[in-house]
Amino acid sequence: MPFTLPPLPYAMDALEPHMSKRTLEFHYGKHHQAYLDNMNKQIAGSELEAKTLEGVVLSSWNNGSPTPVFNNAAQVWNHTFFWENMKPNGGGAPSGKLADAINASFGSLDEFKAQFKNAGATQFGSGWAWLVADKAGKLTVEKTPNAVTPLVEGKTPILTMDVWEHAYYLDVQNRRPDYMNTFVEKLIDWEAVAKRFEAATA
C-alpha cells in the first residue's frame, strides 16, 4: 500500500501573515508531495511498503550509510512533523512541565530561543533545527543537515524548524534570521510541543 500525505492541520492561508499561502502551496503541495511520490516509487514492491513511515526512515538510514530512499522518507516524516508543530496565532510561551523543563535545561525561555535560532543559523546549507527530549525530561537543541533527523539516533524530537531555503525564500528571501524570529515568536504550537514532551517522558 503506498503511503499518503496527511492533510495540513490548517488551511493554506491560515498561517498568514507569518508564513504565506504561497509558501505553503509550494512547500506542502510540491516539495512535501514530491518527497512522498518519489518515496512511493522507490519502495513499490519492496518489503519497506509494509513498514510504518518511521520504520522506512530507520531502515533506509542503514546505520549511517543511507540508501536513496532515506532522503525522501525522512523528508516526508520531517515535514509532517513540521506542520504539526505550527498553528495559526502560535507563539507565546509554553507552560507547565514543559516550561519547567525548558528553564531547567536552558536557564530560561529566552536562552532556549537564542540557542534554537543559533542552531538554525549555523546549519550551513539545508537542514533542520530541533528540540529533543530524553526520557528524564532533559532538553537539548540539535541541528541536522539535509534530511537527517534525530530519529536515526534513537532520540525523541519534540519541536522542529525547517531551514532549507524553500521554507522561507518566497517570504523573506535571504533573511533566514527574520524567518526564524517569526517562527519562534508567531508560529510554534506550544501545546503540540507539550504533548510530545509528555509522550517522550511518560
Binding site: 539545508s126 539535509n146 532549507w164
Partner: protein, 235 residues
C-alpha cells in the same frame, strides 16, 4: 584587532587542495582598509538584469548583493577573529572558527567563479577548439555532456554545486558535485564551470523545479570563460 596579514584561504582547504586552491584564491580581490586585510565582493561583469529571462534580475541582485556579500562579510569577520586567536595562541578558538572560514571562504570562491561563468544570452556561444574536442572525447557530444551534468547536478541532495573541473594529474575533464560551499579544489580538481543549485540560485523563478533551471541555464553559460580557465589549468 587583526594583525593586517592576508590569510590565504588555501591554508584551510586541505593539503591536497593547496596548489589548485592557492591558484584559485589568489585571484580573489582583497583590500587593506585601516591596516586590516579584507576580501572584497567583486562586481558582476554585467548588469543584474542582463541574464534575463533565464535568470531574473531579482534573483541576481539577491544572489550577488545579499548572499555573496554575506559570505564575504562573514569570511572577513572569521579571518579577523582567527588572526586574533592565533596571536593569542588560542588553539581551541582557532579550531572552532574553521567551519565558518571553510563555509564562507568556499562560498566566496565559488560565487567569484560563477559570475564569470555566465554571460548574457546574446553573447553566449557554444564551446569550440580544444575544449570542445575534450568534451566530445569524454562524453561523445556537447549535448550528452550537458545532459549528464544536469542530471548529476539535479541529484545534489540539499544545497551544493555541479562542476566541470580539470583533474590536474590526469589532465582529464571531470564532472563533480560538491555539497554546500565545499570548494571543488578539495577534490583535486581545478574548477572550470560551476552551476549553483542552492535554492536561492533559482527558487523565486523556478520554485521547486530545479531541472527546469538546469535546462535553461545552458543558454547563459560563458564558454569563452570556461575555455580560458581550461587553458590556464592545463598550463
Amino acid at each position: 584587532m587583526a594583525s593586517g596579514r592576508v590569510i590565504n584561504l588555501a591554508r584551510f582547504l586541505g593539503r591536497a587542495a593547496e596548489p589548485a586552491a592557492a591558484a584559485q584564491s589568489s585571484a580573489l580581490q582583497y583590500s587593506t582598509v585601516g591596516g586590516v586585510a579584507a576580501y572584497k565582493l567583486p562586481d558582476l561583469p554585467y548588469d543584474h538584469s542582463a541574464l534575463e529571462p533565464v535568470i531574473s534580475g531579482e534573483i541576481m541582485e539577491l544572489h550577488h548583493k545579499k548572499h555573496h556579500a554575506a559570505y564575504v562579510t562573514n569570511l572577513n569577520k572569521a579571518l579577523e577573529e582567527y588572526a586574533d586567536a592565533e596571536s593569542n595562541k588560542d588553539l581551541q578558538k582557532m579550531i572552532s572558527l574553521q567551519s565558518a572560514i571553510n563555509f564562507n571562504g568556499g562560498g566566496h570562491i565559488n560565487h567569484d567563479i560563477f559570475w564569470t561563468n555566465l554571460c548574457p544570452e546574446k553573447d553566449a556561444a557554444p564551446p569550440s577548439g580544444e575544449l570542445l574536442a575534450a568534451i566530445e572525447a569524454k562524453w561523445g557530444s556537447l549535448d550528452k555532456f550537458t545532459a549528464t551534468f544536469s542530471a548529476k547536478t539535479a541529484a545534489v541532495q540539499g544545497s551544493g554545486w555541479g562542476w566541470l573541473g580539470l583533474n590536474k594529474e590526469t589532465k582529464a575533464l571531470e564532472i563533480a558535485t560538491c555539497a554546500n560551499q565545499d570548494p571543488l579544489a578539495a577534490k583535486g580538481l581545478v574548477p572550470l564551470l560551476g552551476i549553483d543549485v542552492w535554492e536561492h540560485a533559482y527558487y523565486l523563478q523556478y520554485k521547486n523545479v530545479r531541472p527546469d533551471y538546469l535546462k535553461a541555464i545552458w543558454k547563459v553559460v560563458n564558454w569563452e570563460n570556461v575555455a580560458q580557465r581550461y587553458k590556464a589549468a592545463k598550463a
